[in-house]
């Protein structure tokens, strides 16, 4: 398409084809056409690209393409202006018929953000027979829940959930969209962000609104948590963010709260791939969730002799805690991945974190720096964990732990019985 100096698409005469009938001269509303050497000529700077000359030319000698309205395929739609996006949306993740805690944690945070922006909190719920969950969403702070309640969504399928939520974002146009950074959430969020061509910031530990420009300020740790970065998504909507479970506080549940539930029909194709062949729940350790334990006794490379695990378990039980570990023990096959604390394991924030033989390398610290009190037991006074611990005991854990067990029992007689039952 030829353009003039202003960048406007213009019409152009093909001299060989022109028969010199001069019909186009009369049609042109801006007198851009003149005759030269028996054929018509369009002044590119005058031409406004209206296409009227093309309509009257009998010889098809004018080169011009009228800008056609593009088909409304979601990705190619002319992006609505940013101001059309309003509301804070939260994805409600459902596992086995129960809403994931993180969804409510984000609902609470969403409520806080929405109140600052003076906009509604919106829930996006996909599932089958999830009416009660929709209600729970409202009890936890949601104003409007958009529900696609359909057997199609009973099982999580990446492409379908991605399509469905993209559709909801395009329909509802929230300015902010929060998703829990669970395995499902992390599988899903980037699909939506890519389809919507918007920004996604993962594993945020802080979310806030900048009152000057109403932008979402997303704070996340980088380089193992030593630098916190505040990220903005200025010109694209929705501003998407994922947040790990237990980072935001669980809001109060108010069963008297009112809100709206709107059913939405899924407009995308039913996806049947991938096909789940079998689901194998984790065996005896399936009950262990180190993120829920108020006390963690975390074993590192310096305490990996399995012969002494029973003694360490006794110590943990005494405090009502759970055994967890750092990455090397999982890699050596001594403990299952479920118990791994760290950047590539779980993020924990217990009341009491007791690290035994844990050096506390950066990527471990990321997973536990939210702990309220940190006690380090180590032979190396230079170990990073020792440097940041609220209390550090230097020496051989094999001597220290029994001594601690003895001392604790003396001071807390209740522990003389079977330890604290959790």
């Amino acid at each position: 398409m030829p353009k003039n100096s202003k960048g406007r698409d213009i019409a152009e005469i093909i001299p060989d084809k022109c028969i010199g009938c001069q019909l186009c001269l009369g049609e042109c509303p801006v007198n851009a056409i003149t005759m030269e050497g028996g054929v018509a000529k369009i002044d590119p700077e005058k031409c406004i690209g209206c296409g009227k000359c093309v309509d009257v030319c009998p010889a098809s000698s004018i080169l011009f393409e009228k800008p056609r309205k593009k088909k409304t395929v979601a990705a190619e739609q002319k992006a609505p202006s940013i101001s059309e996006y309003k509301g804070v949306a939260v994805f409600i993740e459902v596992n086995n018929g129960v809403a994931a805690d993180v969804s409510w944690e984000l609902m609470g945070k969403g409520r806080e953000l929405a109140d600052k922006l003076n906009v509604p909190v919106i829930g996006f719920l996909l599932g089958y027979k999830v009416a009660s969950i929709a209600k729970e969403a409202i009890y936890h702070g949601c104003d409007v829940v958009y529900t696609m309640d359909d057997p199609l969504f009973q099982v999580y399928i990446s492409k379908m959930y991605g399509n469905a939520l993209t559709q909801l974002c395009n329909q509802v146009k929230p300015e902010i969209f929060l998703i829990g950074a669970t395995p499902l959430g992390r599988d899903l969020s980037s699909i939506i962000a890519t389809k919507l061509k918007t920004g996604l910031t993962a594993d945020c530990t802080g979310l806030d609104i900048n009152p000057e420009d109403r932008l979402l300020m997303m704070t996340r740790p980088t380089f193992g948590g030593n630098i916190m970065a505040t990220i903005l998504c200025r010109n694209h909507r929705p501003q998407m963010s994922t947040v790990r479970p237990k980072v935001m506080k669980m809001p109060k549940r108010d069963p008297g709260r009112q809100g709206e539930i709107r059913a939405v029909k899924y407009e995308g194709p039913a996806e049947v791939v991938p096909r789940i062949i079998e689901t194998i729940p984790f065996d005896t350790d399936g009950a262990v969730d180190i993120t829920r334990s108020p006390v963690l006794v975390v074993l590192g490379k310096g305490a990996c002799d399995t012969k002494y695990f029973p003694m360490l378990e006794e110590f943990a039980n005494l405090l009502g805690g759970t055994i967890a570990c750092s990455r090397p023990l999982v890699e050596a096959g001594l403990l299952p991945y479920l118990r791994q604390v760290g950047q590539t394991g779980k993020t924990v924030a217990p009341k009491l974190y007791i690290g035994i033989g844990v050096s506390g390398a950066v990527q471990h610290q990321v997973g536990m720096q939210g702990s309220e009190r940190v006690i380090a037991i180590n032979t190396d006074p230079h170990a990073p964990l020792v440097q940041i611990a609220d209390y550090a005991i230097i020496g051989d854990y094999l001597k220290i732990v029994p001594e601690l067990i003895k001392g604790l029992k003396e001071r807390a007689p209740a522990l003389l019985k079977e330890g604290v039952q959790q």
């Binding site: 990220i231 729940p281 991945y337 009341k351 020792v386 051989d396 522990l415």
Partner: protein, 280 residues
């Protein structure tokens, strides 16, 4: 069968030292390595081609030094490596990164159709696990994340069956090719390269592709193609170390002093921990 593996060169965070004054990474002499999850993916890809035939191409978007991470992958058996490097790629967030990688994969597909793409589940330098699914979406490939085992590949039916790790369970799941996998470390550690393969990898020519070569839209790569930007960075309030109790003189004394201090300073936390019923 053509498999493409996407890798990233990252600082070896097990060796990274932190400057507590400026709270930045001290990287003098710290080796950059191929992201452990990514090279596990390359090992799996090489094993697949050893079993079923085919080729493995490794690509990375990065600065010139990322070439050494590519060589590590060539050494364990990848057949070809391409470095995507261009000043225009700099400053990319995950949207721009997945665009760049997907463009390169599309380009590779024109000569040799790509049926499987393998990425690590996440990069250890604090990345987000977003790039893999982003590439899958752009290529319209089926997506299988957190893959811990490749159970079977049926090249006639064009179906791959894998084990995935999800919340609280493992899943046996199957998808039609073309497919993108993001992989867990359990998939299998990379082999220790044989000397001939290492020497070959050290000598191999690695082409460098820029914006033009991958046919990318310059507005969609690098900083230009990144919806997110960093507003500011700051050091988190550092956890300050507390008292240290040395048991080398007297174990008993040290522990007694420690417990005294603990029970005195943190009585409330102890109360919560030891009496769970009376949760505050």
């Amino acid at each position: 069968m053509h498999i493409v593996c996407c890798i990233k060169q990252v600082p070896d965070t097990t060796q990274v030292k932190i400057d507590p004054v400026t709270n930045t990474l001290v990287r003098a002499g710290v080796e950059s390595i191929c992201n452990p999850y990514d090279i596990v993916g390359v090992e799996a890809a090489v094993k697949l081609t050893e079993r079923y035939g085919g080729r493995v191409t490794v690509i990375t978007m990065g600065p010139p030094q990322a070439e050494s991470a590519l060589r590590d992958c060539l050494a364990i058996g990848a057949h070809k490596a391409i470095l995507l490097s261009d000043r225009a790629f700099a400053g990319a967030d995950t949207l721009a990164t997945s665009y760049t990688l997907a463009s390169a994969i599309k380009k590779l597909s024109t000569e040799d159709p790509v049926e499987i793409v393998i990425c690590g589940k996440q990069a250890i330098d604090g990345d987000t696990a977003q790039t893999g699914p982003g590439i899958a979406t752009r290529l319209d490939f089926n997506q299988l994340t957190y893959v811990s085992e490749i159970i079977n590949l049926d090249l006639d039916k064009k179906v791959i069956r894998v084990r995935r790790e999800i919340e609280g369970a493992s899943q046996i799941i199957e998808a039609n090719l073309p497919v993108l996998l993001t992989v867990e470390l359990q998939l299998g550690a990379p082999r220790y390269a044989s000397l001939p393969n290492l020497i070959k990898a050290l000598r191999q020519d690695i082409p460098v592709w820029g914006v033009k070569e991958i046919g990318a839209d310059p507005d969609m790569v690098g900083l230009k193609g990144s919806p997110t930007s960093v507003k500011s960075i700051f050091a988190p309030p550092p956890r300050k170390g507390g008292p240290v109790f040395d048991t080398s003189d007297s174990l008993e004394n040290a522990i007694t002093t420690f417990l005294d201090t603990l029970f005195q300073k943190d009585a409330s936390i102890l109360a919560e921990v030891l009496n769970p019923d009376s949760k505050g």
